[in-house]
Amino acid sequence: MKTFAFLATLATGIVLLYGTGDFAPWGDPASPANSHVSPVYIEEAVAETHVPNLVTAILGDYRGYDTMFETVVIYCAGLAVVSVLRRSRS
């Protein structure tokens, strides 16, 4: 079983490494990640939100739904720890 797990991990790793070769070069302006929404954010975020920090503008406005659930995830983590561990002295 261990051998099988090792071979499966190895095979997956080789496939992933093979796939890495097809990535666009880092910082390539023509890559899909840099040619769809990124230019719009860079050109229009400040005019649309009046927030000079693009990261905050994207995090809080364009990706506000994502950030909301990030907060909820942290909240749930805290809730779980409190509900498991907290006990009043008795």
């Binding site: 939100t49 009046h50 927030v51 905050t56 006990r87």
Partner: protein, 159 residues
């Protein structure tokens, strides 16, 4: 951890005068800096998550340098839980409010029906309000995680 708790029980005020004094002097500035990081997120690196962690760390520092009780005197558990819930409520509430006012969920421009301002200004203010909610929630969760994990949940003695 048991050993550390026993050592803390022998010396309830913490062990080093230097550390206690340094922490006592530093904590107000750390909290001020945390607020600055939250409020100044529009113009510099920072925002709700980072500022909230800095605020939470100030209470953890109090608990480490003094003891858990001192930390709980500065921020009571009840208020802490309240602030954590309030933080998430602010975020979700603003989203729902935007939807109720006729915009999309979390579309801050819809809030212009409450207070007339330009849509861009409302986007800016909406981001700030939302970051404030994130900061409150993260601060409260960080502090309560430490309190619960360090004391094993009874809030009697921590590390």
């Amino acid at each position: 951890m048991k050993e550390l708790q026993e050592r803390a029980a022998l010396n309830p005020e913490g062990d080093s005068l230097i550390i206690r004094t340094a922490v006592r002097l530093l904590v107000p500035f750390i909290q001020l800096y945390g607020l600055y990081v939250i409020v100044h997120g529009h113009y510099s690196p920072g925002g709700g998550f980072q500022g909230g962690v800095v605020l939470g760390a100030s209470f953890i520092m109090l608990a480490l340098a003094y003891d858990l009780k001192t930390s709980l005197r500065h921020m009571s558990e009840r208020v802490n839980v309240l602030l954590g819930n309030l933080g998430v409520l602010i975020y979700v509430g603003i989203g729902v409010l935007c939807a109720l006012l006729g915009g999309l969920f979390l579309d801050y421009a819809a809030l212009a029906r409450l207070i007339p301002m330009a849509a861009e200004e409302w986007h800016s203010l909406g981001i700030f309000l939302v970051e404030l909610g994130v900061g409150l929630a993260v601060m409260s969760i960080m502090a309560s995680l430490f309190w619960d994990l360090a004391s094993g949940g009874d809030m009697e003695e921590g590390l």
